[in-house]
Amino acid sequence: MKKSFKLEDLDCANCAQKMEDGIKKIDGVQDASVSFLMQKMTVTAPDERFDDIMKEVVKTCRRIEPDCKIKR
């Protein structure tokens, strides 16, 4: 399943890149992209584990850029 989320207060392009790299390293994530320009994140992961993986994604984002909020 591929899902996209809007991001709020994503203020630095370098952090967006770091978030993308970080999310891609999470176990189970097939693909991910964080677009600084669109303020958008897309995550591709298997359906049955998607919610668990998203928890990890949120954790990763909070670690790298605590100000950035993921809107669902």
Partner: protein
């Protein structure tokens, strides 16, 4: 400016005033430090806080930390005014950067402002506004003058002028009347339209385009990947260099700690690769946005990169260089009447959707009984075979006639000739001709001025027709009488002929040429208004039918690439220069701040030029 930016501006102004005050106060020692710490805290407290918090999260080389370290370091080496000023200018740069990025994001978003907000649907006699997502195929919707067409459909009632500019860049409105197709995203200008929906919102043209454009930033250009990789190594490398610079020279040469620490701090200020990380993707995004304003959809920055190096352009003829609207111009029966010959051909081709079949049916102009036709066989690249009123009718080109062993004779009219044979006996032929698009010749000439070295036309059409068109348009090469598979072979051959660095673009109308579109370095589909196949198979989609847009696309691609290269060279050169000067003790904090945020701001301003494109 949003609320957050306004607060930041207030803090910057307050801090600037306090800094001036601090410089004027004739204090010394601890009092002087305290006086300078006030403006520093006002403008930089959040940077310090983020730096501490991010270290707790294991983010060491983050720009907040580096700025905090550089300014705190400056306080330790006794340069109070510099410490405050560096933080102040850093924040000014950040504010400007966020403002500029916000602005360009908005102007790009407004280009793509084609998403319809609602659809008017009739329920129990009254019009209600519903989400376009909730409208089902087959529902009738009402579009008032001035409203956006929310879903693709067919006009049931009413006539109007429709503005397609948001999708095609074409300023001339299109007239529609009952029976015509309308496409979502266009604006109904004058009359009231009742439209029967033919596609659900998720499948509609507007949804497909939005999806395509929104995902275009995911397909990264080589230059973007380079920057990403570069950024990964740049910051740690500069920080390590700074560390060595602070420690090694004093140990080796002895003493002078404050001076070398100061030089190291300059390194830290320049260590963020922000100018590149923001401006390069922004340039590509701007280029894609500017292109879409012209009705050119580019599926990713990587395609702009390839397009800028186009050396060979291969065209499909029908529907690309010519209008693809065939008209029956000549009917030459052998022994029956003209009407009979046309009827036979139209019936035999009645199940085919090929442009030639459509024009035969149009010329016939009458409704016919489908039960008269059976056993239809489409023979790719040759024609059709069908049973009509119990007789076997073959309609197609000379290859088909040879194949079934019917003696045929050519026609002196230039055009596509459809020969007809009934039960193995030649019955005559019909000539259909197509018209060259008005801007086709100009399109070919414009490509040459954009540095394209070779233009080639591939067609399944007869030699005489193809060569006549090629000569009229000034194409370098033409290959005729090709089957769909031959087109792939031809393109493969052309791929071997071009230079190593040059690229080959194939331009087709998206019908039947998906394999060629994907085989070429870059596939361009045109006339995509409503054709899903084209949008999916191609890398670049031209929303209107104009081949001249290809040269426009190449020009935009070249301009974008030029801006990207300017930014990369400029940012790297300034940073390298200041690093060298800083290490040598010539540059001070001021230059370092310029090399960081100043370069960033200039690169962003340059990147925003990519968005602007002329016709």
């Amino acid at each position: 400016m949003n609320k957050k930016q306004k607060i930041m501006l207030g803090r910057i102004l307050a801090s600037a005033v306090l800094l001036v005050g601090a410089v004027l106060v004739p204090a010394t020692g601890a009092v002087r430090l305290a006086v300078f710490l006030v403006p520093y805290a006002v403008v930089g407290w959040d940077i310090l806080w983020k730096a501490v918090r991010n270290i707790a999260h294991g983010q060491v080389f983050d720009e907040n930390f580096l700025m905090a370290l550089a300014t705190v370091g400056a306080f330790f080496t006794g340069e109070y005014p510099e410490a405050v000023a560096v933080m102040l200018f850093y924040q000014v740069g950040e504010l400007f950067q966020s403002y500029a990025v916000g602005r360009s994001r908005k102007s790009i978003a407004s280009l793509m402002d084609i998403r319809p907000d609602y659809a008017n649907i009739e329920r129990d006699g009254t019009l209600v506004q519903v989400d376009p997502d909730e409208v089902a195929v087959g529902d009738a919707i009402v579009i008032k003058a001035g409203e956006k067409i929310p879903l693709d459909g067919v006009v049931l009632e009413g006539s109007s002028m429709v503005d397609t500019a948001a999708l095609t860049g074409e300023s001339l409105p299109r007239a529609v009347q009952p029976g015509d197709d309308v496409i979502s995203g266009c604006i109904n200008q004058s009359g009231l339209l009742r439209v029967q929906v033919t596609k659900a919102f998720g499948e509609s043209t507007v949804a497909k385009i939005l999806d395509l454009v929104e995902n275009s930033s995911a397909k990264k250009a080589k230059a973007e990947n380079f920057i990403t990789k570069f950024a990964r190594y740049y910051t740690p490398a500069v920080v390590i260099a700074a560390l060595l610079l602070a420690v090694l020279p004093p140990l080796v040469l002895g003493g002078g700690w404050a001076d070398w620490v100061h030089r190291a701090l300059i390194f830290l200020v320049i260590s963020c690769p922000c100018a590149l990380v923001i401006s390069v993707p922004l340039s590509f995004f701007g280029g894609i946005g500017g292109a879409s304003k012209q009705g050119i959809l580019v599926k990713g920055g990587n395609y702009l990169e390839v397009l800028a190096r186009t050396e060979t352009v291969v065209f499909d003829k029908t529907g690309t260089l010519t209008k693809g609207v065939f008209n029956v111009t000549v009917i030459h029966p052998d022994d029956c009447s003209e009407a009979q010959l046309l009827e036979l051909a139209a019936l035999a081709e009645s199940y085919s959707d090929h442009p030639i079949s459509r024009s035969l049916k149009e010329a016939y102009g009458k409704e016919f009984d489908a039960s008269r036709v059976s056993g239809v066989e489409e023979l790719s690249g040759r024609g059709v075979r069908a049973m009509v009123d119990g007789r076997q009718v073959c309609a197609g080109n000379d290859k088909l006639m040879e194949e079934i062993g019917v003696s045929w004779h050519p026609c002196h009219h230039v055009g596509t000739t459809v020969h007809v044979a009934v039960d193995g006996v030649y019955a005559g032929h019909i000539v259909i001709s197509d018209e060259v698009k008005p801007d086709a010749a100009q399109a070919v000439a414009a490509l040459k001025t954009q540095g394209v070295q070779k233009t080639v036309m591939l067609t399944g059409d007869a030699k005489a027709v193809g060569e006549a068109v090629a000569e009229q348009l000034g194409l370098d090469e033409v290959h005729t009488e090709l089957l769909p598979a031959d087109k792939v072979t031809q393109v493969e051959h052309l791929l071997t002929e071009k230079s190593q660095k040059g690229k080959l673009a194939f331009v087709g109308d998206g019908i039947n040429d998906a394999p060629v579109l994907s085989r070429a370095d870059i596939g361009i589909a045109m006339g995509a208004m409503g054709s899903d196949a084209a949008i999916e198979a191609a890398d670049i989609v031209l929303m209107d039918d104009k081949p001249s847009k290809i040269a426009t696309a190449i020009r935009i691609a070249k301009k974008t690439l030029r801006i990207v290269h300017q930014n990369i060279v400029f940012a790297l050169a300034v940073k390298a220069l200041v690093l060298v000067l800083g290490a040598a003790g010539v540059a001070n904090m001021w230059e370092a701040v310029f090399a960081d945020v100043g370069v960033s701001v200039l690169a962003i301003l340059n990147a925003m030029r990519a968005l602007k494109s002329k016709d």
